[in-house]
Subunit: 300 residues, 4 copies
């Protein structure tokens, strides 16, 4: 194997099953999460524990991070006692979280100062994709570095793309997530109107799933309780992917659009609606909870 | 066969292949279109021509309409010398166009006055679905009437749903098309931003097609010329489904939402963007031309 | 005086003081309101009561209506036993409510069938303007008819404009009210953000009142309780002008924009926000209650 | 006079008449602008020229900046060879441009390091207000410092408010300008619809000016050429206040709203429309040029 030891930081809903898949594939794994209980199942499965990001970096020739957002990954990697202070020369740092392209470039510079390489490699597929190793992975960085890490990516996902230089993985991911975010709003509006006029929401989902309005939002996250048992809406909107995270991604997409002075009115509106959801206390719920705003306004 | 003779009115991009599929399945067909050249290929294939809607209705025990919008179907069916003046008692009128539920109810009343039944049965799947008989058909009306016409629907499409009383087919269809319309806007915004930052649009399409933002909009109608030869964008936005028709459907969805006093901000915004597209002269183009608005604003 | 007897229908917050001003100016007045208690103060002041719209019309050579909306004025004037069935040849019907221009044209046709003339003459200035006879009146109709009624308008308001043919008064009024409606949304957003960052809202109002953001919305209806005693917000949002009426006016403006295919994204968004306010139960409150939506979302 | 010598940086459309008013009031003035031709008229009127921000600061006990935006004022004041490197202990730095509150706080810290005080004191009233000394001035900072500078403010404007600590002047100003920006959009939509239905735009302005929709946008900047000779629209949209500056202010307001997680959908939409205007090449024109977007879409 190209890498002797892989460090993995961030063992939440996404990171834990990804780390486990690496262990199963035979990688020697050293893990860190600031919550000890998040590390426990990995340690039982054969991973080693690091005392912190710096120690983990010293012990690894490939470091993967899977953290909630820009602030967290910047602190863990580029902060005091962070990964980049321990990175070996020739090692590779890969951020697989969804963040702003500027964050990717900041991390790449910090890695370069340690003589290490960097890839941004955000994923699509959710916790199910992470568990089943069917993620789509969009990688930004140098082609040579990408090729070195590709076998690792192929353990974690089914579709692995090299999409451009550092930061481009994040550009692709933000574009994808913006579409998801707006799709959910459209689905929520359509279901609110449909229900208001007596449409059976389960049937509406079935019909749209074989029509031009189909998307993962309709298939996996119909924003109405009870029509799909495994959907977040049927489990009190347990995430899944939280409204907080979706709001963050839409926010990052908007910052990108702003930087390019590209008008994106639907994205801007979606951001506002997710802010209304946050302001209504829905931040920790699955983002399909946006449907509850419309349910309320529609008097359903 | 349950119906001795089927009348078919409206032989455009959708109606022509649908009528041909009925002929192939062995139905005796009488057709009408105010443009004689639209009737010609059907007549060659064995259909009979009617001189007008009224004459066609007199000769049929099932009449199917596939016309652009509310005004057209109301005139052809409920107007002077229209279908409903010739409908036989016991016949069935089926509107397979996409219209407002109120239009469906108006047609049902007009049919009832002639002793005939009515179904609204709009379809999803586009001209390709019409040709390949893979349409999804969403039918509103009485269950008994639906069962009588079901064999005809099964010749035309793959997924046939009885979704509720008269008008409910249109409610389902408008909900579906609203989602499509908003999806396209989101896709256009995402591609504009992605391209502004150097993303390869063909690769972006491929990546999103295996990610959470996937939808028929990304798959079949990427709003960038040259990345998918068969997409409208690569053929000077030849429709496909025109901006005019999509704008009409979003307008009908909004009228429905208004009638139910359901706030639908993303739908309202989408309507405004399609109006901007109409105001920019894009009405007769495929609705993916909305991407051109963003291309212009983004300076791409 | 040009008119011997003036009939006045609709004695609510606006109509009552307007009718009283006509009495004070010496006009013989016959009044009707379906709520007898609304008529009482006018009868005490010297007006005569009519038993209904038709009877009132028969007794008047000028009939003024001041009703909540299109449905009401159409029923009262063009319905069974309505004004137009009793209008004398040569009489004038004036609708001073705010309605759609199509309603004005419908009323003009109904009046013409009775040999009578019609003006649409909506007003701006609110209940205070009605009481103090300082209304602005925007009149659509024929110039000669306008000149005949002008002395009556000058009793009721300070600024009287002949703005064009029948319906144009309503076009002007809807344009004005759309601006008011959007201004209030902008003011609500500004005050929510200002307060979130510690701005004193009373001081914010004072400063904006002498800056470029000033408008009657800031001056008379600051959407924060307690900073202006006479503002609706300080009186539990007692109207004033209800959210229901403002939502109706924005809706009518949008119908007009739709008819002209003019994109109006801010108006469309404002309509959606007022629908959210209606869906939150705020319909009968003054429309400055829109500020409460933002207060809630902002966690103030 | 409390200040012996006043330094003034930024002699554009606003700064030049403000500086001249200080000279007329008897203040000894030292000026700087990177464009020598901007300084010339002030030097003729008796001001002294400084070679740069640092030299100017060394020669002044009060420094006023009036620059286009955050980047400029940060560079001029807090950058290499900037004002704060030359500020005397006990001097006062006053930024009268419109910027983000964070910029104000950054400048206050930089001034404090030099032992100097800081006020943010943005103004409303435009070039006319600057010339006639009728500006409204909204001041953030310590009360004692405000009182020291108040006499200078009273030379420049008519309404001077101490609105809170450092940064609060900018909060007030951004709230005001957001309202202005949205008002203009509403006015542009109303005039587009009105004109589409034949309304005389000059008359429409007159009527709204005495109705509830009135505001400086309608009074001074009607977005239709030819109805008010002195309006930007009648002078090929010569600014006035440029679309670039208004877009910047709306952007700063949105950043503020984002920081407070306050949903502001109308503001977000306005930002998008101003971005469309920038993308259409209207950046250097007066922001009332937004009306041209609507004119185009409406086919006027």
């Amino acid at each position: 194997m190209a890498f002797e030891r892989v460090g993995f930081i961030g063992l939440g809903r996404m990171g834990r099953p990804m780390a486990r898949n690496l262990l199963r594939a035979g990688y020697r794994l050293v893990v860190y999460d600031r919550r000890p209980e998040a590390m426990a199942p990995l340690l039982e499965a054969g991973a080693e524990a690091a005392g912190g990001p710096l120690e983990l970096a010293r012990a690894s020739d490939l470091v993967i991070t899977m953290l909630p957002g820009d602030a967290e990954v910047l602190e863990v990697c580029a902060g005091q006692d962070g990964v980049c202070q321990g990175l070996r020369s020739g090692a590779v740092l890969v951020d697989m979280g969804t963040n702003h392209p500027d964050t990717a470039r900041t991390l790449a510079r910090a890695a370069a100062r340690a003589g290490a390489d960097f890839l941004d490699a955000p994923v699509s597929g959710g916790d199910v994709g992470a568990e089943q190793a069917t993620l789509t992975i969009m990688v930004g960085g140098e082609a040579g570095v990408f090729e070195r890490v590709r076998p690792v990516f192929e353990v974690l996902g089914r579709h692995v793309f090299h999409v451009g230089p550092v930061g481009m993985g994040q550009v692709f991911k933000l574009c994808n997530n913006l579409i998801s975010a707006v799709q959910m709003v459209a689905v929520a509006e359509a279901f609110a109107v449909g229900r208001k006029f007596g449409a059976d929401p389960g049937l509406l989902r079935q019909v749209i799933m074989v029509s031009s309005g189909r998307s993962p939002a309709v298939e996996n996250r119909p924003p109405v309780p009870g029509i799909l048992p495994e959907a977040p809406a049927s489990r009190e909107y347990a995430p899944g992917f939280t409204t907080e995270l979706m709001a963050k991604d839409v926010g990052n997409f908007l910052r990108l659009a702003e930087a390019g002075k590209v008008p994106v009115p639907a994205s801007a509106l979606a951001r506002q609606l997710y802010l209304m959801a946050l302001g209504s206390g829905y931040g920790p719920k699955d983002y399909s909870v946006i449907g509850e705003l419309f349910r309320g306004w529609a008097g359903l």
